[in-house]
């Protein structure tokens, strides 16, 4: 983390001098691939280029509170954008749900995801850290509702974020894992043994919210980017990446 912090500050110092028509968007790591496509689509439409900074929602939040030069924040939850709004770090009333995530159970080696989940001898179960990651919280909600939490928590391993959770399963270190549906399109993902979509009603909605940050309050390009996220083109991109039910 130290090294990452140093690299980040070096990148900020040595980065190219930005033209006025560039905006910087902080993006939660689960949304990195759609964000890249959205940036391209937005640049094609408006000529404004988008610089993307990827990190976990909690880390980006801490950076924003401490003055990181971001214009827009695409978070993986609703809590952090709300807090930014309350503390005056985000522009009031700019907050909205730009995407809604879905939880799936995924395995590389098992043919029946649910059987592997309930069989106590099948191996480790990977989920994202429920304290910090919305998809981990959703997985625990589902397991508690389905009555399997007792058995699963004894053999659970926790990824720092949803990408690491997928990595635990993709490398065969865990037999099944709760991942985001949007990750199914990840490049070079091994052939899945099984995929099971967790019933949406069994966990609280995974809403991802966006806010305009205070330093960009009068930045028209940043406002246009937020508008673009609501457009049909943007929704197409997001649903192709497994995000649905946009408001």
């Amino acid at each position: 983390m130290r090294a990452r912090a140093i690299m980040l500050s070096l990148a900020l110092v040595s980065g190219p001098v930005l033209a006025a028509d560039t905006i910087t968007v902080a993006v939660a790591s689960n949304f990195s691939r759609p964000a890249a496509e959205l940036a391209e689509g937005f640049a094609g439409e408006t000529g404004v280029s988008v610089r993307i900074s990827i990190g976990s929602t909690g880390k980006l939040y801490a950076q924003i509170v401490n003055g990181a030069p971001f214009d827009v924040f695409l978070a993986a939850d609703t809590e952090r954008p709300k807090l930014l709004e309350q503390s005056g770090d985000a522009v009031a009333d700019s907050r909205f749900t730009y995407a809604q995530g879905a939880l799936v159970l995924w395995s590389r080696d098992a043919e029946d995801c649910l059987a592997a989940l309930s069989d106590e001898d099948s191996g480790r179960v990977a989920l994202a850290n429920p304290q910090t990651a919305p998809y981990g919280k959703a997985a625990v909600e589902f397991l508690k509702a389905a009555g399997g939490w007792e058995s699963v928590s004894a053999r659970a391993v926790y990824g720092e974020n949803i990408n690491q959770t997928l990595q635990f399963v993709a490398t065969g270190n865990a037999i099944v894992g709760f991942i985001a549906k949007s990750q199914l399109g990840a490049p070079q993902l091994p052939e899945p043994g099984c995929v099971w979509e967790v019933p949406v009603a069994s966990y609280a909605l995974i809403e991802q919210q966006a806010v305009l940050l205070e330093r960009a309050a009068s930045n028209d390009n940043a406002r246009r980017f937020l508008e673009y996220l609501r457009s049909d083109d943007a929704r197409d991109i997001m649903s192709r990446h497994g995000y649905g039910g946009l408001q």
Binding site: A3, G58, G123, R124, V157, Y158, G159, E160, Q164, N173
Partner: protein, 215 residues
């Protein structure tokens, strides 16, 4: 916190056993491949923990060379286990044990060892009764640095540990979780303990080295 101290203690004990022969060999050899061995030993210093952690996750995993063998032997996987963390930490902290020892061994006056040999001491005997006592400074530095470095380990543990309470959730990971979940008070408490510990340990080592150096 206790888990981190256990991890650092085990790692340091194992590292002394592994690093001593490596450092001794490096200090005595004239082999042409010595620089290559030195480079391999020093690599964990410059490689990002993500690179080490990524390859350890694969190597120690049930499909990996070491992990697969371990599964056959014990029936359980190395990743996400305390044993796995000890192995990973040994790799990660190896240079911090080897380099001070190698420096200490290299600064030994050659004639002491030769004299011990002519007085009839075996190689091993000469090593333990002459080289080791004269290299206390190297051992202290090596032990302190590997212990402290293991305590401060984050990236590698994050990648192969799986954040299991009581098993692999070491203090650096716990701090990270607190920061991520906005519990800054708890993060401050744990971080301040670590900062204090790092200062005290390093200052003690430098005091010790200065005293020892004066003699």
């Amino acid at each position: 916190m206790w888990l981190s101290i256990q991890l650092a203690t085990f790692t340091t004990a194992i590292l002394v056993l592994i690093a001593t022969p490596i450092a001794w060999w490096l200090s005595q050899t004239r082999a042409p491949w010595k620089p290559a061995v030195q480079a391999v030993v020093a690599m964990p210093i410059v490689l990002p923990p993500t690179v080490l952690g990524f390859y350890l996750l694969i190597l120690l995993g049930p499909d990996g060379a070491i992990g697969g063998w371990w599964v056959q032997l014990t029936g359980s996987a190395l990743t996400f286990s305390f044993t796995g963390l000890v192995i990973a930490s040994c790799v990660y902290s190896l240079p911090f044990a080897v380099q001070p020892l190698q420096n200490a061994f290299e600064s030994l006056p050659r004639q002491y060892l030769e004299r011990a040999r002519t007085l009839g001491a075996s190689r091993l005997d000469a090593f333990f009764s002459v080289a080791v006592p004269l290299s206390v400074r190297g051992f202290v530095s090596g032990i302190v640095l590997s212990f402290a470095h293991t305590l401060g380990e984050f990236g590698v543990v994050l990648m192969v540990g799986g954040n299991i309470p009581g098993e692999t959730r070491v203090v650096s990971i716990a701090i990270y979780d607190h920061v991520e979940s906005l519990d800054y008070a708890a993060a401050h408490r744990m971080s301040l303990v670590l900062i204090g510990f790092a200062f005290v340990v390093l200052a003690t080592m430098f005091v010790f080295n200065r005293r020892w150096g004066d003699r």
